[in-house]
Amino acid sequence: MSIKTILSHKLKGEAIFTDDIAPDNMIYGYTVRSEIPRGTILSIKIPELPGGYICADYKDIPGQKFFSTFGEEIPYLAEKKVHYIGEPILLLCGPDKQKLQCLGEQVSIEYKAETPVFSPLHAPEENIFDIVTYSKGSFSGLKDNPCVSVKDTYTTGSQEHLSLEPLCAVSLWNEKSIIIYASTLYPYHIKDNVALFLGVSKKRVKVIVPDVCAPFGGKLFLPTMIAAHTSLLSYMSLKPVKILYTREEDITCSFKRHPAVMTHEIVTDEEGNLLGIYADIIFDAGAYNVMSRRIIEKAVFSAFGMYYCDHMELKARLVKTNKIPSGYFSGSGEIQSLFALECNTYKIAQKVKTDPYIWKKKNISLDCEKRSPPNPGKYSSCIAVIDEVVRISDFLRKYGAYEAIKKPGECGTVSGATPRGIGLVLCPHIIGDFYETETNTYTLTLRLGKNRKLKIMTSLIDMGTSKAAYFAMIASHILNIHISEVIIEKTDTDNVPDTGPTIGSRAAYNIGKCIEQACESIKCKEKKKGYPIEVTKKINLPVKNKKNAKKIPFTPPVITWEGTVVEVEVDPVTFITTCRGIWIVLDPGPVVNDEIARQHVEAAALQNFGFATMEVLEFKNGKVYQNDISEYTIPDITTVPDIHVRFIQNRAGIKHYPGRGLGDQAVTGVAPGYISALYQATNNSYTHLPCTPESIMELMQNR
């Protein structure tokens, strides 16, 4: 289908999602889960099952009992030990959903409970999944001389992806092979793992991905577990089986953003010249280690941002707790540590009485040699980015005005003027992601037919037509064909090669780059050969020096800059905040389609805004407390602030497309920008995300 047809399809409601698939004779699956956060299963009592209903536990798995997550292996069904509330233990299936739920609730499990660990701060040594340390110069020695420092401990909460389409999978086993429909971002992960799980050859597992709603990388690994569950039930019942998570199940049992506790300190001389940075970062991984290294790497990189100085010290840990596992979430690792860094830079600027703009410009390290090569500064226009965002938001004038009216102690009283503030953030983003895995494992195929129609075959998932549009634009640019002549093949593992996981800007950058290369090859061949021309390309690391990818602090080969300004007003009576505007300037290199790129940035910014203001997700004794959409609140159209997005398109080092990012790139500046603005408005340092009126009140009253 061409891009226009895809959009029209979606608008007409013709897009087929996994739950829309209902083969004849289909029955439903139900998951019985652990009710305790940590312990050993002693016995399981299953009610008598009527005809047509069956149950399955770990013993029924014919093959491998664990699946991989780029971190640790996770059991499909708990064997003896359970590690979090909601961990799957038993599966039931049958024709009637209500009856199934009724039976499920009658299953009684006896446990021997063990003392759970809920806080990463109080976890024993053995709970540390991963740890990284780095030091340069002597940070502790800095304070022997006169200096200014800001130190704070920041915390960020858990965050739910909340894709509107709940998790769902349908499996059809037909004695020899299995067809799986799943709402996933990584079809080959299902294919490979389910083959091992059932003990059949990979050839006999076919995964089809219908339309998917999976914002912010939410459906990366968990769908594999659900697909395996439906496959096992289908294998045993010889019927098609569907598991559709209820909204509550989706919120309470899906992987979340890693909560973090970060102690961050910045030291400058009395003029505000940066001397040293210290960061201690602790991530709450939940019960299993999913993608740990990548999270830590990004956090470590972002803890220093673009301020690279002579004295730096860092420690980052990923700790196991008995809560739902944390998984991939767009901006993983970066969002947390940039929040700590950028709030601190704002504060130190205020402390040394310069405005944050001057402070940042003064201390950005553009000296490439300071960083381990290849340097991030090379193609950067980070000065241009910060200048532009300051200009379009009128930052300097507003900042000055709000400083001038600030009378310490007055705000928070009823008669005081409405407090206002404006925050400025500059942050780098790691682009492409996923470096050490891009070692010729993944491929994609392009085929140019006689009629000069181009078919792109990739297992990458396109959620919002944007990737399709993006790839099509690259191809049409290089091969000089009309966009409507570019067709994206449906995601079916029988027809498309393994292109790897659909995460973050990897899709746009790494894959876009590969499409560019494939198109160049086709162009060459077109002169000599007849049609059709088919080219399969391996996705390759853009890192010149692969060893560097493992180095700490990890320096990515490609980064993009984000400059963000957030303006906030606080109601002195209720402490409810109003965001008066968000301005974002990015340098992603050449932008293929301004409109699509802008929409992506808006959506990412809104998610970051939600994380900063209202997406409260707490745990009570290891259980998710806000467990439906009315309790876990995401921004809606009435709460979205004005977001102004601009691109600076610096083409240095780029041949055609893709630029340095976009795709599902995260926006991370809104949260620190918002908190900085609040800092200016109220003279209080807020250290927790999300920052609700409740938290603002607490600080205002404790003054």
């Binding site: 608008l11 007409k12 999602f17 339309d211 709603c213 439906d628 009435t638």
Partner: protein, 161 residues
């Protein structure tokens, strides 16, 4: 119980339990999957349909309330002239959507279209406030609505002259 209603312009009779939700009747019994199910709590708006030209969450309406009603789902609405205006605006603006909330969004715009002539941004926000979306930042949807009304007014003027 037996219930007869008009569905997308066609008389339809079904046999169902009286408290079954309209959304399940549409999706499971009649195979009309354009209406999506995001929460079953009236919170997300993915299940919106038009009943007697009023926008309603189909997860909140039981079968016994349907007798004699005129129900329009996205499948029916996408055949109308109004729909083509909305699609035109979406294509013009190049909005990216995963498609899950799209039917609800389209019907919300349709509802606004039949009730207002030139809505303010505030009215647009209010009209779409029942629809959650997690993939799009909403701002482009506001622009689409503005565009829809521009198209509508242009068509109206063209007719007049």
């Amino acid at each position: 119980m037996k219930i007869t209603f008009t569905l997308n312009g066609k008389k339809t009779t079904i046999e169902t339990s009286p408290e079954k939700k309209l959304i399940d009747i549409l999706r499971l019994d009649l195979g009309l999957c354009g209406t999506k199910k995001g929460c079953e709590q009236g919170e997300c708006g993915s299940c919106l349909v038009l009943i007697n030209n009023n926008l309603i969450n189909s997860c909140l309406v039981p079968a016994f309330r349907l007798g004699g009603k005129d129900i329009m789902t996205i499948e029916g609405f996408s055949q109308t002239k109004e729909y083509s205006m909305i699609e035109e605006a979406f294509l013009k603006k190049g909005v990216t959507l995963c498609g899950f909330c799209a039917p609800g969004v389209v019907l919300s715009i349709a509802n606004l279209l039949s009730n207002t002539s030139t809505p303010s941004t505030g009215e647009i926000r209010d009209a779409l406030s029942g629809q959650l979306c997690r993939c799009n930042g909403f701002l482009s949807l506001i622009q689409v609505v503005v565009e829809v009304f521009r198209i509508k007014n242009r068509k109206k003027n063209a007719k007049r002259s």
